[in-house]
């Protein structure tokens, strides 16, 4: 059976430390996000940590959701691309071909997890960092879309070495940069089609699992595990900072206790 690479992210374990973001940045040759870039709202983070405040001061709680590409089974970003730059691999990966991309940005428009990033400027690294670029990952020019690839270079490498050894890829042969860097092991990566893998076992057994924007019917490969709040906020202090109509769905999908 073909692989279907997937991920579980346990929000109960996530501390919002951003180690995954940094690891991804280093692994995948993502240009340095300067302050100016952030202010232009053009920062590129293949995995980002969404942070929500809940409650009213001083009873405030921070919620974190790390958001990589969901690798949807039926990805809305794919059919809108006129040049097949975004397509589906037989391993269930939603793939971006930088060479083919012409930069219509429609995929980003139709990605509802906001995990597609456009190179508004030519990427630049300071001289001191030029030597650290990962040789296995292409540097994207300006004018193309890019996004989390589930560290495809690692997948390829693992598959090749497994092939050399004449076996299938085993669970634990490799993992993505974000999962590797996660200090609490909140992020776990693996093959959802392999019943013995950790992700598959978690997905099969957990009662806390949910997918982001699952109602769109795209069947993401990233499964979140709800946060169990030991010390929930009193009802009346909730959601004061937010426009309630905006927040409802986040509340529904992210466990608040």
């Amino acid at each position: 059976m073909a692989h279907r690479w997937g991920m579980t992210i346990d929000l109960d374990l996530c501390t919002g430390c951003q180690a995954c973001v940094v690891a991804c940045q280093a692994e995948n040759n993502i240009p340095i996000n300067t302050e100016e870039n952030f202010q232009q709202r053009r920062a590129i983070e293949w995995i980002r940590v969404e942070r929500y405040w809940e409650g009213e001061f001083p009873n405030v709680k921070a919620r974190y959701i790390p958001v990589p590409c969901m690798m949807c089974e039926n990805a809305p970003c794919e059919p809108v691309c006129p040049v097949y730059a975004s397509y589906h691999t037989d391993q269930g990966l939603n793939f971006q071909v930088y060479n083919r991309c012409i930069g219509t940005r429609y995929c980003s428009v139709n990605c509802h997890w906001h995990v597609r990033f456009f190179n508004f400027w030519e990427p630049k690294w300071p001289d001191s960092l030029k030597q650290q670029l990962n040789p296995l990952v292409a540097v994207r020019s300006r004018g193309v879309m890019e996004k989390c690839s589930f560290c495809i270079q690692r997948i390829d490498h693992a598959e090749q070495s497994a092939q050399l050894q004449g076996r299938d890829v085993k669970d634990g042969d490799f993992t993505t940069a974000c999962a590797q860097a996660c200090p609490t092991r909140a992020i776990v990566f693996g093959d959802l089609n392999n019943a013995d893998s950790e992700v598959a076992k978690t997905v099969a057994s957990t009662k806390r699992g949910y997918q982001l924007l699952a109602d769109l019917g795209t069947n993401p490969a990233v499964v979140y595990l709800k946060k169990i709040d030991a010390d929930p906020l009193p009802e009346d202090s909730k959601h004061k900072y937010f426009d309630s109509s905006q927040y409802t769905r986040v509340k529904e999908t992210v466990a608040v206790g």
Binding site: E73, N74, A75, P76, E78, P79, Y84, S86, Y87, H88
Partner: protein, 188 residues
């Protein structure tokens, strides 16, 4: 039997119509002359013209061709390059419908225009008996006449107020072919 073209130029429609009637009197058939004017007049103002055209067929043929090409391109690229996007079927019909529709219409338009040019007997760059005054508002009566009746035609036109009558060797046009054949049959 050599044919000659005679062009009479009238400055107003009344005398042009009189000229057309006079031509009928001297035995020039309706199929053997054309009226040149710089804008259309109500159909039959100079007597009914019996030429027919197959213009209506062109867009139909064009639409069929366009449909086929559209089908080939949209269906073909999906078959040749089977890439999955959004879990949609590898052979998705709804998007094909849209592009095939455009292809059909595009070819229908192109064929209509080609048909219009072809049916108007254009392009025709060789020297014609023609007068630039026609676009100034003169009405020209162009008679394709056999040698022997050239003079009577010219005479008829002069008599009805043609300002200028010019003659030239006729160019065999498709329009004049059947008319000539008919008359041959009639005279035989």
């Amino acid at each position: 039997m050599a044919l000659r073209d005679v062009l009479g130029l009238y400055s107003d429609i009344d005398s042009a119509v009189a000229g057309v009637d006079k031509l009928a009197e001297v035995g020039i058939h309706r199929e053997d002359f054309e009226v040149l004017s710089n804008a259309p007049y109500p159909e039959g103002a100079f007597g009914h013209d019996h030429t027919t055209s197959r213009l209506g067929l062109w867009p139909v043929v064009g639409a069929c061709c366009g449909f086929a090409v559209g089908l080939l391109i949209t269906g073909g690229t999906q078959v040749v390059y089977p890439m999955v996007t959004d879990g949609k079927p590898l052979f998705s019909i709804p998007p094909m419908v849209v592009i095939m529709y455009e292809g059909t219409m595009l070819a229908a338009v192109i064929f209509t225009v080609l048909g219009a040019i072809f049916e108007s007997r254009m392009p025709r760059f060789s020297r014609e008996i023609y007068d630039t005054r026609i676009t100034d508002g003169y009405i020209g009566v162009l008679v394709h006449s056999p040698e022997e009746s050239v003079n009577s035609a010219a005479e008829a036109m002069r008599a009805t107020g043609a300002e200028d009558v010019r003659m030239a060797e006729a160019r065999a046009t498709k329009a004049s072919q059947p008319a000539r054949a008919n008359r041959k049959g009639a005279s035989a």
